[in-house]
């Protein structure tokens, strides 16, 4: 996450607190594919699973690489897509040990 804290940082990933500066610096360091950027900065690893940050990062990276967003390889989405509590997988939603 951001080493230098700016006064008005532009937040790209709210779940993991990653700023525009962090993204641009990582791209300059050679993390020029979305899968590696994601793991380097933890973008899209939080509860939103990339729904907020990924479209932004795709645009930033495409611009930096002078490519069309369509040319970038998009990271794999993993189930359950939305965060779901464990208990819903077990009892079909019944919470038997609570009133």
């Amino acid at each position: 996450m951001g080493k230098e804290v700016k006064k008005n940082p532009i937040i790209i990933c709210r779940c993991e607190n990653v700023t525009l500066d962090d993204v641009e610096r990582a791209i300059e360091e050679g993390y020029t594919d979305l899968e590696s950027l994601r793991r380097k900065l933890r973008i899209g690893m939080g509860p939103c699973q990339g729904r907020t940050c990924l479209p932004l990062v795709i645009r930033i990276l495409a611009r930096k690489l002078r490519k069309s967003p369509d040319e970038l390889i998009i990271p794999t989405s993993r189930p359950p897509i939305n965060p779901i509590p464990m208990k819903l997988f077990i009892h079909g939603g019944d919470d038997e040990d609570e009133e």
Partner: protein
């Protein structure tokens, strides 16, 4: 077309290839190229359970892993990545499990790994929020631990870049080029790359590549499954294994609970997501930690254990081809074994022999000659 003669080409940019390159540069090799078909870490490395242990059931695994743990300690400080020696606790629900692991513990102790059988009360001290119902005891491995695969791969890659190692990602190796039983190079998407030596460290993909050199690697690619939850404050340091369900739970660097369990699978199937995995895993997790019922599951992913016939890696030179080496078939233990495997391979590459005598038992020759050394403690 790249026309340059390198000292070493490594096929596979996973944890094994990267650590091998690291130790090769330590021993003075200069021109090294790593070729990766997708992105660094993209195979089993980034899908792994992150655990590191020496509590195995064979002399080969126990003694090599003891040294690997020393390297994890040293390199995490030098290269600055997350590694915690939080231990492993193996949990038992049946007398015969406790009995078998009491014997394994004697073997661990014989080779200098201080595991011991612990009571349910001691388990609670180390994992305070656990539900001990049905658990009759455990085995504690105090030197085991965990690391962050992303942190390790990027720290290694940055160090290797400084040392002049070239890394070509999104490049596929098609075949190995041999002349008069001697390595000449590899043929890739970007043309031929000449090399004096070639290391195949490409997981199950090693099988197809080795075939082009006339070498048969007896590997099976077995799907396994894991999930991670949202972050939570530190609940317990050790990695826990519920041996009855062949399941594990570990809290990773950022605070999520990473867990997996063995579900019946046929080898050599494409990776796919099973509808029954999360419910089965959730039942085991909530039995151990009832409060986990309210924790959110974030992601579930499959990954392979690349199994050898005896669950030990196939490591070292291939006798038929001068200059050809392999490091694969780690059978679910590649991440934890990577530092020692990298050191052993580098010694073989540079000196033609390894200081770790016991590693000589792990070459492909053992399988050809039928000298298998079965590992019994494989789970997840």
């Amino acid at each position: 077309m790249t026309r340059m003669r390198n000292e070493l080409v490594i096929i596979g940019g996973g944890i094994i290839g990267l650590f091998s390159a690291y130790f090769a540069t330590e021993l003075g090799l200069k021109d090294i190229v790593i070729i990766e078909k997708k992105y660094l870490g993209s195979g089993s490395t980034f899908r792994c359970a992150t655990g590191i242990r020496a509590s195995f059931t064979t002399e080969e695994h126990i003694t090599l892993q003891k040294e690997s743990i020393e390297l994890w300690k040293k390199l995490s400080k030098q290269l600055g990545f997350y590694y915690v020696q939080g231990g492993y606790i193996w949990l038992f629900r049946k007398d015969e499990q406790l009995k078998a692991f009491s014997e394994y513990s004697k073997l661990h102790n014989k080779y200098g790994v201080p595991t011991r059988i612990i009571t349910p009360e001691e388990i609670r001290e180390k994992a305070p929020m656990i539900n001990l119902e049905g658990i009759i005891g455990g085995l504690f491995d105090p030197i085991a631990g965990k690391a962050n695969p992303f942190g390790v791969v990027y720290a290694l890659a940055e160090e290797l870049r400084k040392r002049g190692v070239k890394m070509q990602t999104r490049t596929k190796v098609h075949r190995i080029i041999i002349e008069n039983n001697k390595i000449k190079g590899v043929s890739t998407d970007n043309g031929e790359i000449e090399a004096e030596k070639v290391l195949i460290a490409a997981g199950y993909g090693s099988r197809e590549i080795a075939k082009t050199a006339g070498v048969d690697l007896p590997l099976r690619n077995v799907p396994h499954h894991a999930l991670i939850t949202e972050k939570f404050r530190e609940a317990f340091k050790p990695l826990l294994i519920d041996w009855t369900y062949s399941a594990y739970i570990v809290q990773v660097e950022e605070g999520g609970f990473l867990m997996g369990m063995d579900v019946e699978e046929r080898p050599n199937q494409p990776l796919y997501q099973r509808n029954d995995f999360i419910p089965r895993m959730a039942r085991v997790a909530v039995r151990l930690f009832p409060w986990m019922k309210n924790i959110n599951v974030l992601r579930y992913w499959p990954g392979y254990y690349v199994m050898s016939p005896d669950s030990h890696p196939i490591l070292g030179p291939i006798e038929e081809v001068d200059g050809l080496f392999v490091a694969t078939g780690f059978s679910g233990h590649g991440f934890m074994m990577a530092p020692i495997a990298g050191e052993v391979i580098a010694e073989w590459l540079v000196d033609g022999k390894t200081k770790h005598k016991i590693a000589e038992n792990l070459t492909l020759r053992r399988i050809k000659e039928g000298r298998l050394i079965h590992e019994k403690a494989v789970f997840g």
